[in-house]
């Protein structure tokens, strides 16, 4: 996320649907300020008569959020979680839980946006352009996370996608990000070096997997290298039921 022009930063801050970081922002700026009471219907609508249903979901598609405000909000989220926990694992679990609902939402938004853009790009032959398919196999899901989801969140694809080489854990996959945006402005104290605040992103991934019907546990791990000191590996381990279904689907030749 490069530093965006000021007006586009304002745009995404005001939009309830747009960016990966809407939760804290929206909670604090909340709608009540622009609401006028409508006693006749019992429904409160904004003074400009525009509800969230009147906004187009693609309006803030290319708008970017200010990196500084995101860093500030995210740091606050970490602090908030940290005040309420006793250990590192607890803290990561909290961050994970904060990311989870975001993943569920982003999934729908992602599909909505790919549908509408593909049909508008081929508007002359809109009937022939079919919407993207829901992921049925693990690999399609992983590609969805590695590519489109990462681009929606961070403006680029993830750096690597690997399958566990160990024969004991065929249900484990790894997605690597060399320089996760969420950790850019987080300095972890030495005594907490196990902590990786990208647990928040792991929560988002978990939400996406669960939403698609792939029960999974996702965790974030530090794997620094010379070149990438904050390299993070997201470990996805899918549940038994998913692996069983995967075998059935493979036999019946479904992609």
């Amino acid at each position: 996320m490069a530093a965006p022009p000021r007006h586009s930063a304002m745009l995404s801050m005001n939009s309830a649907v747009a960016t990966p970081q809407p939760m804290p922002g929206d909670m604090s700026q909340g709608p009540p300020q622009s609401l006028t009471p409508q006693p006749s219907q019992g429904l409160r609508v904004p003074s400009n008569r525009k509800t969230i249903y009147d906004r187009h979901l693609n309006r803030s598609r290319n708008a970017e959020l200010s990196r500084a405000s995101f860093a500030y909000l995210f740091a606050e989220m970490v602090t908030y979680a940290q005040r309420r926990v006793t250990g590192i694992q607890d803290l990561e679990k909290r961050l994970n839980e904060q990311g989870y609902p975001l993943g569920l939402r982003l999934l729908d938004l992602l599909f909505y946006r790919t549908t509408t853009t593909s049909s508008s790009a081929l508007s002359s032959s809109s009937t022939s352009s079919s919407p993207p398919n829901r992921p049925l196999r693990i690999l399609t899901l992983l590609h969805l996370i590695h590519g489109p989801l990462w681009r929606l969140l961070f403006g680029r694809s993830a750096d690597a996608l690997e399958h566990s080489v160990s024969p004991d854990t065929p249900n484990e996959y790894m997605i690597t990000d060399n320089d996760p945006l969420v950790n850019t402005y987080i300095s972890v104290p030495r005594e907490m070096n196990q902590l990786n605040c990208a647990a928040f992103v792991a929560g988002i991934i978990e939400g996406v997997c669960d939403g698609c019907g792939f029960e999974a546990k996702v965790s974030a791990h530090n794997q620094p290298t010379e070149m990438w000191p904050s390299r993070t590996v997201f470990l996805l381990s899918f549940g038994e039921s998913v692996m069983e279904r995967e075998k059935v689907l493979e036999r019946s030749g479904i992609k």
Partner: protein, 184 residues
């Protein structure tokens, strides 16, 4: 044609439902089901019983719109399904109007010649209303579902909406009604 539309969360909680009638070819938009008014729960029975088939189709077909999935012949009820990527089910039950000359579902196979000719006639005049499995109907339902999906995404993106909670927004209801008027 009468419609019963329902949204079910991935954990089978009913999130939203609405009954409406066709507005095409002179319809007044009021649902007239074949059950008496006291037995409207039949719609819910029929629509929920199609969930097994939806869950089966879910893993063989990656499309979001699963088309017509189930039929319940005794009530001449047809069910179309739409699946969002996050696992929310949109189910639409449609029931063609009762024919005045035949006594409902039992009269369907009465006379093949008469039946086919009347089918053709109805197919040409109002395809959506009378022929629940025609491609035109599928297309109309798909358009309807897509429009509802757009509104559903807007609902889901609201930070005040919790996944799987009932959708109470009157604006959403109005939007769904409008989509029904427009396409069905």
């Amino acid at each position: 044609m009468s419609y019963y539309f329902t949204i079910l969360s991935p954990t089978d909680t009913p999130v939203f439902n609405i009954a409406f009638g066709t507005s095409k070819s002179g319809g007044d938009g009021i649902a007239r089901f074949r059950f008496p008014d006291t037995a409207q729960y039949m719609n819910q029975f029929i629509i929920h019983s199609s969930l097994d088939i939806v869950e089966e189709a879910q893993w063989t077909n990656g499309a979001m719109y699963l088309k017509h999935v189930d039929t319940y012949p005794p009530a001449a009820a047809y069910i179309s399904a739409f699946l969002t990527p996050s696992g929310v089910r949109f189910l639409l039950l449609h029931q063609p109007p009762q024919l005045s000359n035949s006594g409902g579902s039992s009269g369907f196979g009465a006379s093949s010649i008469l039946g086919s000719s009347s089918n053709l006639a109805r197919g040409s005049t109002s395809s959506i209303a009378a022929n629940p499995t025609s491609p035109q109907t599928e297309e109309a339902v798909r358009q309807f579902m897509t429009e509802v999906y757009e509104n559903y995404v807007k609902t889901a993106m609201s930070p005040f909406y919790k996944q799987g909670a009932e959708i109470r927004s009157p604006v959403f209801r109005t939007r769904v009604t409008a989509a029904g008027k427009k396409w069905l």
